[in-house]
């Protein structure tokens, strides 16, 4: 017997029997429903559209449609100078501007082959880790909202606000910093900065515990996320997943360790991966847990950086910035570990112009989201929401 699944959509099964007779089998007249989720939907985190084919509450298939926030980043890069691209990288992943700036700057620095002052590296790492915490707070908070818990979200935003204040204090802007420049920084940090970050770390530690008790350990939350959207490690790697998504599947892979940049090799920190006790490895809860635990690791990194940061009198963070950034001809693929995974830049320079010939941004969310179609098969609609939330997409980065 062979099933010819052609007319699957209207619940009619055409079965060819062994003697080549064709039987058309009709179910009770139920139909699949096409449900367009988004682009205006509370839990698609922006302007993602999922076209779901649903069978009652069960999602048979969900096809993501992107591009509602496409802002021609790559086209624009070919028209502007290398340093002027930095503010645009902020706008890619607007929740983790510092990290994306860092990824772009280390890529161009690789091409330029310049040495960065140590103090600059430390400041970069501190700001990047602060921004990572801020980004994870948004991820955790909005994940709570997706599952119906509104209060953790506001607690997260209250603490994120302080991080934004800190970053505004050093860079002058709250979200779109343009702080990390190719070869340096735009300003040195204020005199009190070290002390204030130190105070922030001690202020923030109990809040992390509170957040964990309120959200992560809540039984309803666990029940909603445990075992939902399981992604085996091999498939995750094949999908090119990175960051907390890949670590949620149990792969200990962190570019800060595996492809070290900046001063990360000198710092001590763990790479949290789920052990399968509290969560099933690879499910939504694991991904959430990895983010929650990474906040602790980031705090650790910040503390170490504050200890080790060299104090230089009259420090000029713009000292080694080349007057005119015109890299020699060549290609480079540079990347960094962003809160959402690997953000890479593929840059081609022709050696003549001050503008890149090609600047491709490898967006982490874009790659992570591409597994949505597989993950959504056979899930309930509430689980679909839980899965989208655990991917933690920023549509600005998906669509660029």
């Amino acid at each position: 017997m062979q099933e010819l699944g052609k007319a699957e959509l209207n619940s009619t099964r055409i079965i060819r029997q062994d003697d080549n007779r064709v039987i058309i089998e009709k179910d009770l007249d139920t139909e699949y429903m096409v449900l367009s989720m988004g682009p205006q939907h509370p839990s698609t985190h922006g302007v993602l559209r999922l076209e779901c084919i649903t069978d009652g509450e069960v999602v048979v298939e969900a096809e993501p449609y992107l591009g509602y926030l496409h802002r021609c980043f790559e086209k624009y890069c070919e028209k502007i100078d290398y340093p002027a691209i930095v503010p645009y990288t902020d706008r890619m992943d607007y929740l983790a501007g510092m990290n994306t700036e860092l990824a772009y700057c280390i890529t161009v620095e690789k091409l330029l082959d310049i040495e960065i002052p140590r103090r600059v590296e430390f400041i970069r790492v501190i700001t990047a880790e602060l921004n990572r915490i801020a980004s994870h707070l948004v991820a955790i908070g909005t994940y709570g909202i997706d599952l119906g818990a509104f209060t953790p979200f506001l607690f997260c935003f209250r603490d994120r606000e302080i991080i934004l204040n800190l970053l505004e204090w050093i860079s002058g802007a709250r979200m779109l910093y343009n702080y990390v420049w190719i070869g340096g920084l735009s300003y040195d940090v204020p005199a009190d900065f070290k002390k204030r970050v130190d105070e922030f770390v001690s202020y923030f530690k109990p809040k992390v515990v509170e957040l964990r008790e309120l959200l992560t350990e809540n039984e309803i939350f666990v029940k909603r996320t445990k075992g939902i959207g399981i992604m085996p490690a091999e498939v995750a790697i094949n999908y090119g997943w990175s960051g907390p998504m890949l670590r949620g599947s149990g792969v200990k892979w962190d570019l800060r360790r595996n492809d070290p940049y900046s001063i990360y090799p000198e710092l001590e920190f763990d790479i949290p991966v789920p052990d399968g006790k509290f969560s099933d490895v690879g499910d939504s809860l694991s991904r959430h847990l990895v983010r929650a635990l990474e906040i602790d690791e980031s705090l650790k990194i910040i503390e170490q950086c504050l200890d080790k940061m060299p104090e230089v009198a009259g420090f000029d963070p713009r000292a080694v910035i080349p007057k005119r950034i015109r890299p020699k001809a060549g290609e480079v693929y540079g990347r960094a570990e962003n809160p959402r995974g690997e953000v890479g830049f593929y840059i081609v320079s022709d050696g003549k112009s001050t503008k890149p010939l090609r600047c491709k941004a490898r967006s982490s969310c874009f790659v992570n989201l591409s597994a949505m179609k597989d993950l959504s098969k056979g899930q309930l609609i509430p689980d679909l929401v839980a899965i989208i939330g655990s991917i933690d997409i920023v549509l600005g980065e998906v669509d660029r």
């Binding site: 002027a84 343009n178 300003y187 309120l214 809540n218 309803i220």
Partner: protein
């Protein structure tokens, strides 16, 4: 069966923990966060309690180096056009007229003591387009172009978002252009005379008029 009861138990305890946390915050609602900025030494001593700021009356302080509204101190501007070229979004429009020799004194010097050689009749910044990246500020040689910490400058009419900083009115600008042309003509005559006498002075290139960006009109 034991799993069934342990489930009920964990559910009850974790829900109770959550409820205590929210109740604690509810009771703590008698306190309010202060409005000291992050550069204040006491910042972390006042972050307990309700953290809302009622915006028009209570404002989150912006630090001194905050990059918000652009401001150009035209008295110091030498019309070098660098900001216009550096701006990634082309929100700055500059037109310059070369200062004639006899006007140099009237045009004056910058606060740094540099002689200004350009009239700047048009220095328009479309702050609606500006993305406050700070690149123009970093290239400004006389540090006359700055981002101010003024964050709230909303307008009812988008045309009011174009800020004019030019130091000459239209009529004055016409007069100056005319004067410059006269001087040029005079110079050209002199040069011709000089060329006739065999000495060719190197002609200085006249400043190019700033290219008008396509999206000059407001409302785009």
């Amino acid at each position: 069966m034991s799993e069934y009861f342990s489930n009920i138990k964990t559910a009850t305890t974790t829900i109770a923990t959550g409820l205590t946390i929210t109740l604690r915050h509810f009771i703590n609602a008698v306190k309010r966060k202060g409005d000291a900025g992050i550069d204040d030494a006491d910042f972390f001593r006042q972050v307990d309690g309700l953290c809302t700021l009622q915006y028009p009356r209570e404002v989150m302080p912006t630090p001194a180096n905050a990059r918000y509204r652009l401001y150009n101190n035209i008295d110091d501007c030498i019309g070098c056009n660098q900001c216009d070229r550096a701006c990634p979004v082309e929100c700055i429009t500059i037109e310059t007229i070369k200062v004639t020799a006899d006007d140099l004194a009237i045009c004056g010097k910058t606060s740094g003591g540099q002689q200004k050689r350009m009239w700047v009749p048009v220095f328009d910044i479309d702050v609606a387009k500006c993305m406050t990246c700070g690149i123009c500020v970093s290239v400004c040689p006389t540090e006359c172009l700055v981002h101010t910490p003024v964050a709230d400058f909303s307008e009812f009419d988008v045309r009011n978002m174009v800020y004019h900083f030019g130091n000459l009115s239209k009529i004055e600008a016409q007069a100056k252009t005319k004067k410059l042309e006269e001087e040029k003509a005079a110079k050209a005559k002199a040069a011709e005379a000089a060329a006739a006498s065999g000495q060719a002075p190197v002609p200085k290139p006249a400043p190019k008029p700033a290219p008008k960006p396509a999206g000059d009109q407001a409302g785009e």
